[in-house]
Symmetry: C2
Subunit: 210 residues, 2 copies
């Protein structure tokens, strides 16, 4: 684990981009470097779900109060329940030095960046549109209408890639995971994330100046 503050990394990507798998691999390979964000929800816990592990379970009043106080980095309603990303948990993990990873859709990603401008936005896609289509049809579980809807959504999302910091192509999972890891770790060397250390270097050098 780094002693310095971690980076919040948001992943989005087309259906079939494998972003979920990339995140799981990062957690498996570098458990001391990364932490997964834990969402909050107003739905009831299911058997076996533990508070703070699967979700933070909230009443609707609690949830909406947090959202109103900008304590939800983003949130949305889905089948009658709220789901969102509590800021406090993310900030705690960042303070502990973890790079915190979060998988959300494009709208949510832009909201997070607005509330926490240091957030690193990464967009994952297959190498080309044919591969997007082939991966969706290859699953063999989706009907034509669903596939058409997902292709239309990918088309829509392609308008927003430019608002992300990085565009990563998942052609070969193995090399993609290592590329994503390298990008995040190199991001720590950006001067805008090193303000304290630059101040410290300047301070040290001043002792040598007569």
């Amino acid at each position: 684990m780094n002693q310095e503050k971690g980076i919040l990394v948001v992943f989005s990507g087309f259906a079939g981009s494998g972003k979920g798998t990339i995140m799981k691999e990062l957690m498996k390979r570098y458990p001391d470097t990364y932490a997964l964000s834990v969402s909050a929800t107003t739905r009831d816990p299911r058997p076996g779900e533990i508070e703070g592990r699967e979700y933070f379970f909230k009443t609707e009043d609690e949830f909406l109060r947090l959202a109103h106080e900008n304590q939800m980095l983003e949130f949305a309603q889905y089948v009658g329940h709220y789901y969102g990303t509590p800021r406090a948990y993310v900030e705690q993990k960042l303070e502990e030095g973890y790079d915190v990873i979060l998988e959300i859709e494009t709208q949510g990603a832009l909201k997070v960046k607005e509330l926490m401008p240091d957030t690193l936005l990464m967009f994952v896609t297959p190498p080309d549109a044919d591969t997007v289509f082939n991966r969706l049809t290859g699953r063999g579980t989706e009907d034509t209408q669903t596939i058409n809807r997902r292709m239309a959504k990918a088309y829509e999302e392609s308008n927003i890639i430019g608002a992300y910091d990085y565009w990563v192509i998942n052609d070969d999972l193995e090399s993609c995971v290592e590329e994503v890891h390298a990008i995040i770790q190199n991001e720590h060397s950006r001067t805008c994330r090193k303000k304290e250390q630059i101040k410290c270097m300047k301070q040290q050098l001043s002792c040598y100046v007569k």
Copy 2:
């Protein structure tokens, strides 16, 4: 060599930071990826120096005309002669797909960034001020006055690190060279450097949308 356009990378750093060695190592290890910028000068060629290899040799009139037309990315006068970075050579190598590397002082680096905003600025330093001092004294070739002057210059330069994109610490040469290489290569995945490819992906996806 990448088929896409290369990135112009400018290195600056404290005396004793090893930035020259890092650049030589990059050229040695990845000759198909990197090209060194070639400077222009108004001084006479020395025996063995070849036009376009050590320098582009210019008359003062030619040099100043190029500078006036913004065809020098930066230039300075030194012991009665002009030295500068011709834009044409850099752009030719970038078009060929090379990442072009250039070692210059902080003033010149900021001028280059002004004329070519896509330039990647990297600042290299030893891990701390004591190491800066120890490396300078350890050479055993500089007198106290020179060392004091260099420490004072490092102090001055520490005010400008924040204007660079990345701050790289050269503690262990081997890992520093690979870190620098990874930073430059990952920079190719920034969405601001992928505008054409994003457009192309969007175009491909549009064919699937009824």
